[in-house]
């Protein structure tokens, strides 16, 4: 076989591996119920329950923030985030969490929230927070 053909096959193999791995590593959007059954991290989209307490007390623990969220199917769960409370969290319209269920609490490693813009009508602003510094 020619050298270039061998190299071509290697390149195609790597390209396919890249695509498959992307699909494999991609996550799913799920609900709290699915999160309970799942062992791995997943994305949960939902809304903040504004009736229940948002708990963050820097004096007790600067790295503990908890709140209650309803997912799109209406299931509610307590969510714990190890970090500071993101600014304007109360105003959020929609929240995307990345994390997993631990007991009855959902431990989020990443929070992204959409807030209505204070200045421009019909516009939302998106902000996010991570519990952990990105590392390699």
């Amino acid at each position: 076989m020619k050298k270039s053909s061998i190299f071509g096959i290697i390149v195609i193999a790597i390209a396919i591996a890249v695509i498959i791995s992307t699909y494999g590593s991609s996550s799913t959007y799920g609900s709290f119920t699915e999160a309970k059954q799942s062992q791995s991290d997943l994305h949960v989209i939902g809304y903040l329950d504004k009736q229940k307490e948002l708990y963050y007390d820097a004096h007790k623990d600067a790295n503990y923030f908890s709140f209650y969220m309803k997912d799109k199917k209406g299931t509610e769960s307590k969510v714990v985030f190890t970090g500071t409370k993101p600014q304007d969290f109360e105003r959020s319209e929609q929240i995307v969490l990345v994390g997993r269920m631990v007991g009855n609490e959902f431990h989020a490693s990443h929070i992204q929230m959409k807030c209505p813009s204070k200045y421009t009508q019909d516009k939302v602003e998106v902000t996010e927070a991570d519990a952990k510094q990105g590392s390699i």
Binding site: K2, K3, S4, F7, V11, I14, A15, V18, I19, S21, T22, Y23, S25, S26, S27, T28, Y29, S40, D41, L42, H43, A58, H59, K60, D61, A62, N63, Y64, V80, T82, G83, T84, K85, P86, Q87, D88, V96, V98, V102, H107, S109, H110, Q112, S117, K118, Y119, T120, Q121, K123, E125, V126, T127, E128, D130, A131, K132, Q133, G134, S135, I136
Partner: protein, 885 residues
């Protein structure tokens, strides 16, 4: 303008276009006596068509403006820059289109008006350049003079903004950044008109086409109900809908603009976008040469000039990307310099492919191999620039990036932009496929060209991985799926990119020991193996010292590759001094790249959060889940141990809109002696729009950095900062613990939770500001010295008898969390009563902060500078070759 006129003009436009095309067709059909006649008719009708189109556009724009303007006459608006600017926008678009067509006709040598068309093309391009400058001037005038009737000025600037940040607000919005891109493309086009010689016609056809499409992004006109482009000259009342805009004097209510995003108020934001966009803009030049080469069948000649321009493009784009990461490192709080955000990837993707292209272009020039790969990578790089602008500007990224531009409804416009250039490139490759000088012979295994080719392909593969993952929202839109991005994208990118980096860095070393065509195998094996062993030893040492072995093995391999390419290129550089001066550029650039890899790898891989908080309120269960506790709480003036340091938050300084927190760092040795002391001032802005926006402060050492940022602090909003001292006293006592009275003599000490107070003396002649004292009035001040956490403060509460009534004036020592009253004087015991209010912990000033140590990050920045020098040397070398050729 009435509607029938618009219809008439449209009709005229269509007719004249049809007539022009017919003339052109007849003029070129077959050589007979009528030929010249038709060509002349074509010529004239072309000018007329252009004029009609221009008028059509302008009337259309004014027609819309006229119909949109209600009967209200608004006061105080300055509409001159709008009219002028909008005129320039339309002129820019029309002249670029005119230039494209003229250059196109000049390139296809079918008539004798070739030279005339060339000049028409040039004039069109000059007019476009002048219009682009005109647009910029109008926009700058608007922002600089705070004309908030314009949406752009209102959205992106404010009166308090210093002049140098007005420049950054200029390109904060999409329109401004499109302008910046168009400006650089205009500059590059003019340079090419001057320099490109025989290449001018086809190359400028492509560049003028790119300029036409860029100008169309700014048009902002409605044609048949479809908004084309987005103009920076939209008025506030046109952009937003609110009842206020029905009032003629609405402008008098708009006092100030929205202001510039606090994160962009950084000096890097003045210089980073122009560099980045010069990089993007210069990517069109190699693309244009490749198209020109295929189009005019000068298959081999385009490569040489394309090498120089590609080197320029990768140099500038690379610098721009690194500037962006320096900005992120210095002013963002994600704690690092690279986060694989889609916006970052969008700039990196075309850079990687063009780097690959440069290498195979050189291979083709030297050996005649890899022609297709070189052409493909050159073409795809520019298409990927356009794809990147589609990703970041169309709003398709949606939830996956918080940094992308907002959607301006230009989705299909951007898609068409990508499709046009992709179509042209694809069509030309297919049309010319059989004529392409693709070598039938295989490269030798032990030849430089083969392994450079392999390296370029691996760069393209790493780029493929970035594209596939970053484009997940695009796949969702195309295939109607609902896939979420990876839960830990950073790790995914890091592992994959590291894998490709191992191959690329190793090849960057090995190819230096190989020669073009054929290499002496024995010698190659001996040198490369010696260097491999040598590098392995050094890598082992570095990995051991920095603790890199804690990471995945692939990162150790990247380190090995980077060291190997450093070593091999250092050897080449050493040979340069023996006379092979030509090779200096490539060696220096590769050394720079190696250093970037080493610096990035150690800094990102072994960065350490030193503000790790180990006091766990919520028990071991919570800690077990590998939950990070990266934030530390600091009460004011209470030192706390953090890693090797003793840190104290000891003060604030406010320079609106920024609130600086002074944090003292003391490094102690084993005996508790202070070895080093310094102050860092991270700052925050409590911005109504953005929330708490923090910027870090970093202590730079030669071999590591100490990065500190505030993640939370109870501070005031920036618009509340002024003039509130001394108010809200009524319920002030609620902020303190119940008061404790102490009866003391002069010289006595009063203990409190965080220190003690000494009554030094009584001042019989105390007076209180603004209160005149009568003959029978008495005022006594207690001169107190407060010692708390090693700091000393003074306070003098006053007791007063005025007109027979008793008052006392409390004094606060905020830094010690105290309020002190001289509440009673007991003459018979020669004692006084001092009432002490101390603050409970929860009311005391505090900050929550995070500190990270980045080792060896300076290698990253140094490497960048060295790489740029290497690129410059290479450009000089290639230009010399171009002249001698």
């Amino acid at each position: 303008m009435s509607f029938p006129l618009g219809q008439l003009l449209f009709f005229l436009t269509v007719c004249s276009v049809v007539f022009t095309v017919i003339c052109y067709y007849l003029g070129n059909k077959k050589p007979d006596s009528n030929n010249i006649k038709w060509l002349k008719r074509f010529n004239i009708s072309f000018y007329i068509t252009t004029a009609i189109v221009l008028i059509f556009c302008y009337v259309l724009f004014y027609g819309i403006k006229a119909s949109a303007t209600p009967t209200v006459v608004y006061l105080g608006e300055n509409l001159t820059p709008k009219n002028l600017g909008q005129f320039f926008i339309i002129l820019a678009f029309a002249s670029a289109l005119f230039s494209t067509i003229s250059y196109f006709l000049a390139t296809i040598k079918t008539n004798q008006f070739e030279l005339k068309w060339l000049w028409m093309g040039r004039i069109g391009y000059f007019v476009n350049s002048i219009s682009v400058v005109g647009i910029g001037t109008c926009l700058f005038y608007i922002i600089y003079n705070h004309l908030f009737e314009y949406h752009y000025a209102w959205e992106h600037s404010s009166r308090t903004l210093p002049v140098y940040y007005i420049i950054s607000s200029f390109w904060e919005g999409q329109e401004g950044s499109f302008w910046l891109w168009g400006f650089w493309q205009a500059v590059l086009g003019n340079i090419l008109i001057w320099k490109a010689k025989s290449w001018e016609k086809p190359v400028l056809t492509v560049i003028a086409l790119a300029q036409t499409l860029l100008s169309s992004m700014l048009l902002g006109i409605d044609i048949f109900g479809q908004r084309i482009g987005s103009s920076p000259f939209i008025l506030l009342r046109e952009a937003l809908e609110a009842p206020i805009f029905s009032r003629p004097e609405y402008l008098s209510f708009i006092k100030d603009g929205n202001g510039l995003n606090p994160l962009l108020q950084n000096y890097w934001m003045v210089i980073h976008p122009p560099t980045l966009f010069l990089g993007f803009a210069s990517m069109v030049v190699p693309f244009a040469y490749a198209i020109a080469g295929l189009w005019t069948k000068r298959y081999k000649e385009w490569v040489q000039p394309a090498i120089s321009y590609s080197l320029f493009a990768v140099m500038v784009l690379g610098t721009g990307v690194i500037m962006g990461s320096l900005w992120a490192y210095e002013s963002l709080n994600f704690g690092g310099f690279w986060a694989w955000d889609p916006v970052e990837n969008a700039a990196l993707i075309p850079w990687l492919t063009l780097i690959g292209a440069v290498h195979v272009l050189i291979v083709y020039k030297n050996t005649g191999h890899s022609y297709f790969t070189a052409t493909f990578l050159t073409l795809i790089s520019f298409i990927l620039v356009l794809y990147a602008s589609f990703l970041t500007r169309s709003g398709i990224l949606g939830d996956t990036s918080v940094h992308a531009f907002t959607d301006l409804g230009m989705f299909w416009h951007l898609v068409i932009d990508v499709a046009i250039f992709f179509g042209i490139a694809l069509a030309l490759i297919i049309l010319r496929w059989k004529e392409l000088p693709i070598s039938k012979k295989e490269e030798e295994t032990y030849s430089r060209e083969f392994w450079m080719f392999v390296g370029a392909v691996f760069l393209a593969l790493s780029c493929l991985q970035l594209i596939v993952v970053t484009s997940i929202p695009v796949w969702n839109a195309m295939f109607k799926t609902h896939i979420a991005p990876p839960t830990n994208p950073v790790t995914l990118y890091n592992v994959f990119q590291a894998g490709f980096a191992v191959v690329v860095t190793l090849l960057a070393g090995i190819t230096q020991f190989l020669k073009y065509k054929k290499t002496d195998t024995t010698r190659f094996f001996i040198t490369s193996v010696i260097y491999l062993v040598f590098s392995a030893v050094i890598t082992g040492l570095i990995v051991y010292i920095t603790g890199l072995y804690h990471l995945r093995f692939v990162f150790v391999l990247v380190m090995f590759g980077a060291i190997y390419s450093l070593m091999a290129n250092a050897k080449v550089l050493a040979d340069v001094f023996k006379g092979k001066i030509k090779l200096a550029g490539s060696a220096v650039a590769h050394i720079g790249f190696g250093l970037i890899m080493v610096g990035a790898l150690i800094a990102a891989g072994t960065s350490k959060v030193i503000s790790q908080n180990d006091t766990l309120e919520y028990g071991a269960d919570f800690a077990k889940g590998n939950n990070p506790h990266e934030n530390i709480m600091l009460y004011k003036n209470e030192p706390q141990k953090m890693g090797d340091y003793m840190v104290t938050y000891f003060g604030d300084s406010v320079k609106a809109p920024n609130h600086y927190f002074k944090v003292d760092y003391k490094r102690l040795d084993a005996n508790g002696k202070v070895v080093e002391e310094f102050t860092l001032k991270p700052n925050s802005q409590a911005n109504r729009k953005m929330g708490l926006v923090s910027s870090p402060d970093t202590k730079h050492y030669l071999f590591h950095d100490l990065y500190t940022h505030v993640s939370m602090a109870p501070i005031k909003y920036d618009d509340e900062m002024q003039g509130d001292a001394g108010h809200g006293e009524e319920n002030d006592d609620a902020n303190y613990n119940p008061p404790v009275p102490h009866e003391v003599k002069v010289g006595d000490t009063i203990p409190f939770r965080e220190g003690y107070i000494i009554l030094q003396s009584l001042n019989k002649e105390a007076h209180v500001q603004n209160i005149p004292m009568g003959a029978n009035d008495v005022a006594v001040g207690a001169e107190l010295k407060i010692i708390s956490h090693g700091k000393t403060y003074d306070a003098e509460p006053v007791f007063m008898v005025k007109n027979g009534s008793v008052f006392d004036f409390a004094r606060k020592v905020d830094d010690a969390g105290l309020k002190l009253r001289l509440s009673k004087i007991i003459p018979d015991k020669s004692k006084v009563e001092i009432t002490v209010y101390d603050q409970p912990e929860s009311k005391k000033a505090y900050i929550v902060m995070r500190a990270i140590e980045f080792p060896y990050i300076n290698f990253l920045w140094t490497g960048t500078i060295i790489m740029v020098i290497g690129f410059l040397l290479s450009i000089f070398r290639r230009n010399k070759e171009l002249k001698s050729a």
